[in-house]
Subunit: 314 residues, 2 copies
């Protein structure tokens, strides 16, 4: 098991990465300091990993809330559902929420923890690669508004993140690759030696070899943690984490957030950003080709979806 | 005009207190640094003070949202209404919200500012004595849940508070007295010379003489600011601000939050707390009588409402 500290002063917290951290009772006992524990998860994840988590919680009584899968769960209505559950069980300010799931569950549960009685503890147990390397780290929590994504939220840090590499074994291939886009991003924005390691070892990663998985999650979280520690509220350097996201969001918007996964749009968006940089004479063609080659080996799309109409103002 | 700084490091902010600060264009120009300004107010306050505020905003374009008066406005639905308004107008992360009203409008608008795009600026313009001396200072924002008050919220500081003593002229007598309960509270918990000043000058306050009003608001805010600076998130000394609130909440609950104003319940609750202290031999009868006398001169109730059934477990 690897441990990374996210250094945010009095809000610092550890990220535990490795095989079976979800079943690590000592780890749970350390962080579950209350008998009022609410696990929030979804109908896809619950049949796979809920029991495993509940077993490692043996010493604490707890409740479970299972929500529908999908982006539409990230709403004020679901927030209200979580708060109602906490109120009905008379949970106090010392209760703990556990988010067991991908980005939707993590963002929603984190925001509920930020709001309930003006802030209670929460633990992130991300079950997708994207959530493990990106959304579970850094404290961005939110729900969507019908007119825009992530419009209602808070910067609110978890008290621990548990990234279990075992849970990635059940992740569909496309979702796994989508997570890799964010992994490659860390290499591109600030960690060239990691990028070169990825170029050498991407096949081990694709095969989901445990050692390779632990390494990419560790290195990604380390990079993200360093950036977040410098700029928690995104007033400067944290914006570099958005590489590929401007073009990516344009793709997602054009597709009405359907068909492509977020990571796929970000991967393609990074290549588009590289291409733009080349046109501005900031990158060489050779560098752009190198990025494209790695994205292809990670099974990520490198061309915008057919059917998107381009408009020129020229 | 008096200015008090609430010293919260990078979240420090000024409270301006005095006649006509609402019409002070220089003050507005200093704090309104955006052309995206949303004023949130209610149907009672709008006819009285909205125009005055809009005139002093002459340099900034703005929108207005007028909500129903009353505690039921402090809901997730109203939060959603504010967020929808911001989204429809395409307000960005640099927009500013202005809360023009009492505690309900301040708590709701503050929470909306805390959540919108994970936090935008907001200015408090409290229009009740209670809001001026208590709820607008300290960063406690929230909405209610059907099963409990203030259950969904955030600690989130305004960028300025403008307490205009002129607006108190239209405040009904009962509401004015309810605000005085919190003023007396600061004297009791940590400022004996202020308490003695109140004993000498309460009639000037009741007459709403401007100098006396400015002084009690200033001294109350100074006390609250000092406590909040020591303990922003209520993990220790900030709990002293809750003097009278345990008994007060019991009264409010027994009345289903009807009939009595919050300040009235707190005033009576402080006397009950003093009485309990006497029974525990921590206060003398004479001191309890002194508190009762001041509450009576402030036109506050000193006996629990008739009809509340008392139960004894003895």
């Amino acid at each position: 098991m690897k441990t990374i500290e996210v250094d945010l002063g009095d809000r610092k917290y550890p990220i535990y990465i490795g095989e079976a951290v979800l079943s690590d009772q000592i780890l749970m006992d350390k962080h579950i300091t209350s008998n009022q524990v609410l696990i929030v998860t979804n109908e896809n994840v619950a049949p796979l990993y809920l029991k495993r988590l509940e077993e490692s919680l043996s010493n604490a009584s707890h409740e479970v809330l299972i929500l529908p899968d999908g982006e539409s769960t990230k709403s004020l209505d679901s927030l209200n559902q979580i708060i109602t559950c906490l109120m009905e069980k008379k949970y106090s300010r010392t209760c703990i929420l556990i988010a067991l799931g991908g980005g939707v569950i993590g963002d929603l549960t984190g925001f509920a923890a930020a709001c309930y009685q003006r802030g209670v503890k929460f633990i992130q147990i991300p079950t997708t690669l994207l959530a493990q390397v990106d959304s579970s780290v850094g404290g961005k929590t939110a729900v969507n508004h019908p007119l825009g994504k992530n419009m209602i939220g808070a910067f609110y840090q978890p008290c621990a993140v548990l990234a279990d590499t075992n849970v990635l074994s059940t992740l569909p291939e496309r979702e796994f690759s989508a997570g890799l886009a964010e992994v490659i991003k860390y290499g591109l924005i600030r960690d060239i030696s990691f990028y070169e390691w990825l170029e050498e070892n991407i096949e081990l990663v694709i095969k989901r070899e445990n050692e390779a998985l632990t390494y990419i999650i560790e290195r990604s979280c380390m990079n993200k943690a360093e950036v977040v520690a410098q700029d928690e509220r995104e007033s400067g350097v944290r914006a570099t984490l958005n590489l590929g996201h401007t073009f990516g969001h344009a793709i997602e918007t054009a597709l009405s957030y359907k068909d492509w996964l977020h990571g796929e749009a970000v991967g393609c968006g990074m290549l588009m950003a590289a291409d733009l940089s080349m046109r501005l004479r900031l990158l060489e063609q050779e560098q752009v080709d190198r990025i494209k080659a790695l994205l292809l080996r990670a099974n990520l799309p490198t061309k915008i979806p057919k059917g998107i109409k381009l408009r020129s103002n020229a």
